[in-house]
Symmetry: C2
Amino acid sequence: MTRPRHSAQQYIDGVLAGDRALLARAITLIESENPHDAPLAREVIEACLPHSGRSIRTGITGIPGVGKSTFIEALGKHLIETRGERVAILSIDPSSQISGGSILGDKTRMERLGADERAFIRPSPARGHLGGVGRHTREAILLCEAAGFGTILVETVGVGQSETAVRGMTDFFLLLMLAGAGDELQGIKRGILEMVDLLAINKADGDNVNRAERARREFENALHLFPASDDGWIPKTVVCSGLTGAGVPAVWDVVLEHHQQMQETGNFTRRRERQAVDWMRDLISQALEADFLRRPGMEARLREAEIAVRQGAVNPISAVAGLLS
Amino acid sequence: MTRPRHSAQQYIDGVLAGDRALLARAITLIESENPHDAPLAREVIEACLPHSGRSIRTGITGIPGVGKSTFIEALGKHLIETRGERVAILSIDPSSQISGGSILGDKTRMERLGADERAFIRPSPARGHLGGVGRHTREAILLCEAAGFGTILVETVGVGQSETAVRGMTDFFLLLMLAGAGDELQGIKRGILEMVDLLAINKADGDNVNRAERARREFENALHLFPASDDGWIPKTVVCSGLTGAGVPAVWDVVLEHHQQMQETGNFTRRRERQAVDWMRDLISQALEADFLRRPGMEARLREAEIAVRQGAVNPISAVAGLLS
């Protein structure tokens, strides 16, 4: 977007009024790579910030095939229809490499939920050259909160670098798994298991119920060996089915139990404070790196340097000295 | 060090000759925060780089009390006396907060090993404001390799942020644990368990042998539930005793088995290549951040901004805009 069609005030009024179309456009604005959009984007975010923060932010991850979209649709419907929530779903899309078929199926399903005005669904690009995964997702969360969405679900695919970033901007982290702990685990990135607050074995329906329960018990035993998290929460395990909806309310009960415990111990506030400081540091690093990459020809030189370093033709110290000179 | 006492050539000749005193001074040089030392440091590192890389780099971690120093001393003696290796031990010291008593004990023990000229022992400060944990450890590894140390042990305390950094500069990651999976685990940082190539239950001596073996089996079962690492290695578990030396040779057998497998699959080279590119990116980020922090008054302004953001008095976006303007 080179020419924004709205003034800052129009964006702000629209977002604060809960207008989903203007919320979507405001997110497009903050995602814009055009430096000319940056001042307007900042104005909109800053105006929305005082109205943000009053939500439960939940990260949801799991490999492709785990039934994430079906689960999220079931959870979203439950939250809206039974609990009277307004739900925003932000999906961090690692790229377009993911197999076309399932994406199409997902979209169709998600669109049904998206038609409900109490839901807002939005893919969030996973950009950033020097490690800025989901760099605009944090801002998108704030805008959704300012628009009155009290439940934010941030979805990632569980195979990339985005999970740590999402962990750092949410209050609760949910991992969806399948029964059959062998092959299905291969796809997931190491390190994720230790970030989870709740591990849900999905597709616990039909013939699969007993296997799912067995898998849950195995994971429960394994998680007991993990160190407790800093905030004193012991990760839980449940079985559920996005297809039948069984166990989906129980998932949210755990989220609420965690939320209450974190508020009582003061860890909720402490975590949000820490995340704000981390966000500030990220913004500094991103700004410094963006400046660096805007130097003439730098992107191409960096690419060449990486190849030369990988091949051992140049050592990293010389390469960096060359780039910075 | 404001006035280096040696020329670049003296440092280089000393390191390449395996002179431990000059190696120690060269590491002091690269750790210097004085910008005037930087060109000399770079010259020394660059000259040593072609002579580096021919070692096995092992990261070792575990909470205070796990018996790390005793274990490393036993491992070092075994490597030197039985396997004829030259061993460099770099300890990343998170600060001086760690309880004084054990540090003193450690030093006495370690000094005995350090008296042997086939060993080199060196604490490495964990500096860096914006996340540069162990930023000079990588260079220290290279200098030790150039000085002919074929085995590098990088020790961290297992409670901080340094483990991920160490994982990113070593070939193998060893976690020391104690039997009694409950309380002893509390101290360790989450996420470490999924980085390990080998989990060793230490203090498997006297009355503790059976408990250690039970703990090992529990962890073995738990680790089976973890996703396999990208390089196809399945984490192993052993019991050992730094005190009696039992199981210490078996630990090194696993390191060598891993090394051979990684070389056969080409993963050893790929990992080192990836680490070189990561190192280059780290150097760029560090340089950009160092430039930023050298702006007049910036360190104090950054500290104030962090406090204001933590207290919610300023939002991160405004704070960063203020700092960068």
